[in-house]
Amino acid sequence: MHLYDRVAGLFGTNGIVGAGIGHAVGIGLAQRIQGLDGIGVAFFGDGATNHGAFHESLNLAAVLRAPAVFVCENNLYATATPLSQVTLNPDIASKAKSYGMPGLAVDGNDVLAVWQAMGEAAERARSGGGPTLIEARTYRTVGHHEGDPVTGTYRTQAEVDEWLQRDPIDLFRRRLLSEFGTATPEDIAAIEARVEAVVADALAFARAAPEPDPATARRHVLADPLNPPPALDRRSPGSMRVQGWLEAVRDGIAEEMRANSAILYFGEGIGERGAASPTPRVFGPSSEASVLLIPRSPSKASPLRLLAPRPRERAACPT
C-alpha cells in the first residue's frame, strides 16, 4: 500500500478503498489527449464496488469512452465482510450494464482466462471502444493483513482448503507441464528460483538501505519553485480593458487551453450554457461541429476540449 512507481506505470497502490478507480479514468483520458496509446487500469476488490467512487468512475468512463479497464478481484470478502452481506447483487460484472459498458466475469484463478479477458479489454480501450469491467472471481487464501486469522472467524477451514486446491499458480504450473507440455519441471524450477532471488534481493536491498534523512521530510509538498515561470515574469501590464469577471476568467482559460493542448475542462454548466467557460465562439474559427464535448478518439484538430456530456451526443449503450 502507498506505493508509486512512475517508471513502471504504477500510479499508486492507494490507501483509500475505491479512490484509485477514478484515477484510471483520468490516466486514460490524459493518454488520449496527448495522443498516446496508453490506457488506465484500476485494480480493486469486491468491497470497493459498493463505494460511490466505483459507480461514478464507471459512469464517467463510459460516457467519455475513456481508454480504461476496471479489474475487480472479487475474493468474496472485504477484509472480513462477506460480499453477500453488503449487496443484493453479488454478480459484480453485471453492474457494468448500468453504465452501458461490457462486463466480463472470468475465473480469476485461471491465468489464461484473465490474460485473455484483459487482452480484449485493453484492445477495446486502445481502439476507442471504451472501458470494460472485468470481474475476476478468486479467493484470498491468506489473511487480509498480518495477524488476521485465516480461519475461525469469518471463514471455515473447509472453504479455504477448497480454494487452495485451485491455487492459480499451481493450476497454471500443472497446465504448462501436462496439458500444454510447453515447460519442463526444470524450466519451472528455474523460474521459481529466479523469482525467489528477485524477492531475496529486494529484501536485502530494503534491509541495507539507510534510514531517510529527517532533513528531507519537508520536500515534495508543493513544486519548488512553487510558482510557474510565467508568473514570476513581472512585466508591467500593457494596455488594459474593462471586462466582467466571468468574461476575464473565461478568456484566461481559453488562452491557456490554446497554449496547452493537454488541458481538459470538465464540469457542469460549462460549454454552451456556461457563461464562465470557453465556448466555441471564444475560439473564433472553430465551428461547433469540431467541438467535442465527448471526445471519442484522440482529436488533435480540435482546439477545444470540453467534456460535458450532452444528451444528443451521448453514445448508444453498448451491450
Partner: protein, 304 residues
Amino acid sequence: MFADFAFETAGQIVLQAAKLRYMSNGALSAPVVVRAGAGALRSAGPHHSGSYHPVFAHMPGLIVCVPSNPADAKGLMKTALRASDPVLMLEPKGLFASRGEVPEGEHYVPFGVARLARAGRDLTIVAAGQMVPRALEAAESLSSENIEAEVIDLRTILPLDVATIMDSLRRTHRLLVVDEAWAMCGLGGEIAQAVNELAWDELDAPVARLHTAPVSHPFAPVLERSVLVDVPRIVRAARDLIAGLVPVPDHWMTTGLSADTTLAPLPSLSRTRRPLRRPRPAKGSRSHALWRSNRLAWHPRPLA
C-alpha cells in the same frame, strides 16, 4: 460548481491530489484546478453559500486562491493552469457581476503575493475575495472620520503572504482581519498568531477579526444579512480597534461547564523528578509577608 460541492469529492482533493507529489517522492503531481463559486450571495442557502478556503488551506499540498477582482481572477487562473500542483480557485460568486480593468495579453498573478489595495496609516485591514471591496468601501467611509485604513488583498490563502501583512502592520500598528469564512481555526486566528510570532512589538492593540457568524447560512434574507460581515460591521470594528477595543467573538461554543479534573490529579512531587520550584519573593517585601503567612500563593505582581 458551488464551493460547497467540493466536499462531495473531498477525498480526491485532500487525500489524493494534495498528497500525490509527497507520496510519490516528487515523481508525480496532480496539476488540477478546482474552480468553484464561493461565498454568500442573495440567500443561496446553506448548501450554496459557503467559503471554505481555511479548510483547504489547512491541508499540506493544496494552493488556495480567493481573488477579489476580474484581473486577479484571470491572472490567478492562468497561473493555476501553468502550475503543477492542485489549485482551489474559489471565486466569490458575489463578484461575478463585477467589472474591472484587466490587462490585455499574457497576464499571470503569482501565488503568495498579496496586493496593497489601499494605502493608509491608522490600521491595516486584511481581506480576501468579496471582503476586499467591502473593506475598501468601509475604508472610504472611515476616511471621512479621519481614519485612514490600509487594505491588503491576500489573493491567495495558501501560500499566505505574511511578509506584506507585517510590513503594513509596521506602518499602522493595528490589524483587523475581515474574512467571509468562519472564525473557528480560521484565517483571523491564523494571522493574529502570525503577528504574535513575527511582529508582536508592533501592536498598539490586539489583533481584531470579523468572520461570518458561526451558523450555517440561513435562507431568509434578513437572517442571512444578520450573520454576514458587511460594511457597517467593518467600519464599527475599525473604529473600535482605533479606540483599543477589540470584539471578543463567540465562535468557541463554550458551555460554561468547568473543566473535568477528576482524571487529572495535580502533579505530585515524584522522587524521580526535580520538585517544582517557585522563586521566593525578597525578604521584607509585601509579597514575602503574604508568602510567609501562606494566605495566598505568591505572584510576581502582588495584588495591590
